[in-house]
């Protein structure tokens, strides 16, 4: 099995060198591709200097659009699995083998690195965010019929079947709860793995103020509709 690590990056010139360096040290031998999501800074250059492949999107598509690009790339080049890994240093590369393991061993098509499987005292979120996370993990758990603790985690591994499905439907700005519900409805076998999340080292969070207000609406609507949408029949053509 050949896995690929996809690092979506939007204006991450400050964090990226460290993240990529750490990846190379802690998870050696893994292919890494950075998807520069229409950055206005030197993201693509610092990524190239780190010696990884860089896909440069001409416009900003959102983290989902960037990931989908990476998944397209992975399928084109014959990778069997992908790991989504944040550029900002939130994810610990030492967790990577554990997130990837269920997919590589064929135990699951989707493996989610969760902050909440085991209590992580280091992780602190604001009250509103905690409430939102609780709401969406509750809703998603209901929809997929099993307890899912962390819907907003950006640390996930996808097997080939999920990669195919992601070409067909992938929320472009927040690939969270609706994606998980839709994948589960397509009979994807998923599992959660305990990981630790660290505070970002620099740059700004995806969840800015305006998006924070919009996020609940969009995610709620998309989640409900994902429950309603008919599962995918055949594998799409790449």
């Amino acid at each position: 099995m050949r896995p690929l690590v996809i690092v979506p990056a939007h204006n991450e010139e400050e964090c990226l060198p460290r993240t990529l360096g750490e990846l190379a040290r802690e998870a050696p031998g893994l292919d890494v591709v950075v998807v520069d999501d229409g950055s206005r800074d030197r993201t693509r250059h610092v990524a190239r200097e780190a010696g990884v492949k860089v896909i440069v999107l001409p416009v900003n598509l959102g983290v989902g659009g960037a990931l989908q690009t990476g998944i397209r790339y992975a399928l084109e080049r014959g990778y069997d699995a992908v790991v989504q890994f944040d550029a900002d240093g939130q994810h610990d590369p030492r967790d990577l083998p554990r997130v990837l393991a269920p997919v590589l061993e064929g135990r699951a098509d989707l493996s989610i690195g969760s902050r909440f499987v085991s209590a992580d005292p280091a992780y602190r979120a604001t009250l509103s965010r905690r409430a939102g996370m609780l709401l969406f993990s509750g809703l998603t758990s209901l929809a997929v019929g099993r307890r899912l603790t962390d819907t907003t985690s950006g640390f996930r591994a996808y097997g080939r079947r999920v990669m195919w499905l992601c070409l067909d439907y992938f929320p472009q700005d927040f690939p969270d709860a609706p994606l998980l519900i839709w994948l589960a409805r397509n009979g994807v076998r998923w599992t959660e793995v305990a990981v630790t999340m660290r505070p970002r080292t620099a740059g700004t969070s995806l969840y800015t103020f305006t998006r924070k207000a919009y996020y609940p609406y969009k995610t709620l609507l998309a989640s409900l509709l994902a429950c309603w949408r008919a599962p995918h029949k055949e594998e799409p053509i790449a």
């Binding site: 001409p58 416009v59 598509l61 397209r72």
Partner: protein, 125 residues
């Protein structure tokens, strides 16, 4: 024919002409013109056929002819807006797909040429 009917017919004719002219100059596609042509046809019919509006008003159970006009006018605008939103969504999806494809092709090209076109002088990043 009342003055109001005459004005309505005139405006409908002007809009119809404008739409046709836009199509002729290829500034408006035939598909997009359909809704507008239908609307102007409707307005012209109402203007020339006085009994039609009264008939529809009775049929709807509305009190005044003006209510009927506003009802259909607003309905028409809403349908047009929704139609545009659907078209926009399709466009967004197409642009996204094209952007992804362009990015992947660019990487392939860079690999083949062994250089990075964005680092050539005279090109802003």
């Amino acid at each position: 024919m009342t003055r109001a009917q005459l004005i309505a017919a005139l405006i409908a004719a002007l809009v119809a002409l404008a739409v046709l002219e836009l199509v002729r100059r290829r500034r408006l596609s035939e598909d997009f013109s359909l809704l507008w042509v239908l609307a102007t046809l409707g307005a012209t019919m109402l203007a020339f056929w006085g009994g039609l509006l009264t008939g529809i008003t009775h049929l709807l159970g509305a009190k005044y002819e003006t209510s009927t006009i506003f009802f259909f006018g607003i309905l028409f605008v809403l349908v047009v807006l929704l139609y545009y939103a659907v078209k926009l969504t399709a466009l967004i999806q197409e642009v996204r797909r094209l952007a992804q494809e362009a990015a992947l092709l660019r990487l392939k090209l860079e690999e083949r040429e062994g250089e990075d076109p964005s680092e050539r002088p005279g090109r802003s990043a």
